[in-house]
Amino acid sequence: MQSVQFEAPGTVDEAVALLAGATGDTRILAGGTDLLVQLRAHMINPGLIIDIKKIDETRSLTKNADGSYTIGAAYAGAEATERDDITKDWPGVVEGWDLIGSTQIQGRASLGGNLCNASPAADSVPAMIVAGMTANIAGPKGRRTIPVQDVPVSPGKTSLGKGEFIVSFNLPGRPKGGGDAYLRLIPRTEMDIAVVGCGVALVLDDSGTVTSAKVSLGAVSAKVLVVDAAAKAIIGTKLDDDALAKLDAACQAAAKPINDKRGTIEYRTKIAGVLARRAVKIAAERAGS
């Protein structure tokens, strides 16, 4: 076990320089709710830990003039729930974000950490994807922005290059008639890993017809799935029984889960459809309010 160096830079440039100069395994510390547990369990053995929470950009949540949001990668879910703006505009995003762990964990756990831990069951990711969020990445070649769904590659792996880290996220403004929701199923009431998670964002016109929709599923594949066929099944409808049945079938067809202690393939597949139906209804109610 090598000794670890700890740094807490105050700017993005300092963090990038530290990353560029590092030789061994380097880990970014945001809330630490995954990282420190992995460190303690000897699952990882980094030479350098960089705490990004001293960088203002990672710790702020700003509503911009155009209604969009800039969310720091280390901003905690419990902080977001105390905000009137984002909880009203994007309740589904906040739901996924603040479901992670218990009260004290919610006070630390961040979107950046949840995304980069790259668990297929990460609760915040399905809602981030359907909301159209993008990640602002800093690295040795400067800054770049990519869709959230392109960050995780497979369990535990991201597409971030050497020396890169996520500084913040962009969340579009809530469209007129828009609503979103995130639902997950777990065997207990709190503090467990999703058997299935489902994110939905949709837009209704004045007559209640769905004009656009996005549906995503977590924990039923190696990474979060965006189910275009499920969105197509409800676009142009008023969410009648026939449309919801098609949505359900499309989600079941897309789900490619594994068997494990939390659920069988058959159970997870069925639940994917059930959760999609429920999440769509919640999103539609919110769109109408």
Binding site: A8, G32, L36, R40, D51, T103, Q104, I105, M191
Partner: protein
Amino acid sequence: MPTVSMTVNGKPVSGEVEARTLLVQFLRDQLRLTGTHVGCDTSQCGACVVHVDGESAKSCTMLALQVDGAAITTIEGLANGETLHPMQEAFRNNHGLQCGFCTPGMVMSAIDLVKKNPKASETEIREWLEGNICRCTGYHNIVKSIQEAAGNMGG
């Protein structure tokens, strides 16, 4: 090794730590404040809850170096001499503990709850304690203790 300085229960302390040292390890192993417990190592059980600048936090989920300069309160810092904190007193009055292992974390979490939500309902208390696990399953009396303390703390 890097040096960390903080205020613990009102007293300035500092020590040399390895970067991987968790706050709870610093408190227990270096400061010998063993009232803060480690129950799970996975940030689930809540036995290690302390206050960091007045907010409850799991001290196994923070490196000691992360709280450099912060003010920490542990279970040892609650009583005023021989006079127990109202939350400790309420736990004693209501048999809010059995084996006592989870109690330091329960008390520290509960104080933060009553500070944030002085009139918390039974349901809100139970929800707040989702991250504090009592292996004796003594939740009923823990909730009663917190309700009584909330009244005595001005809630």
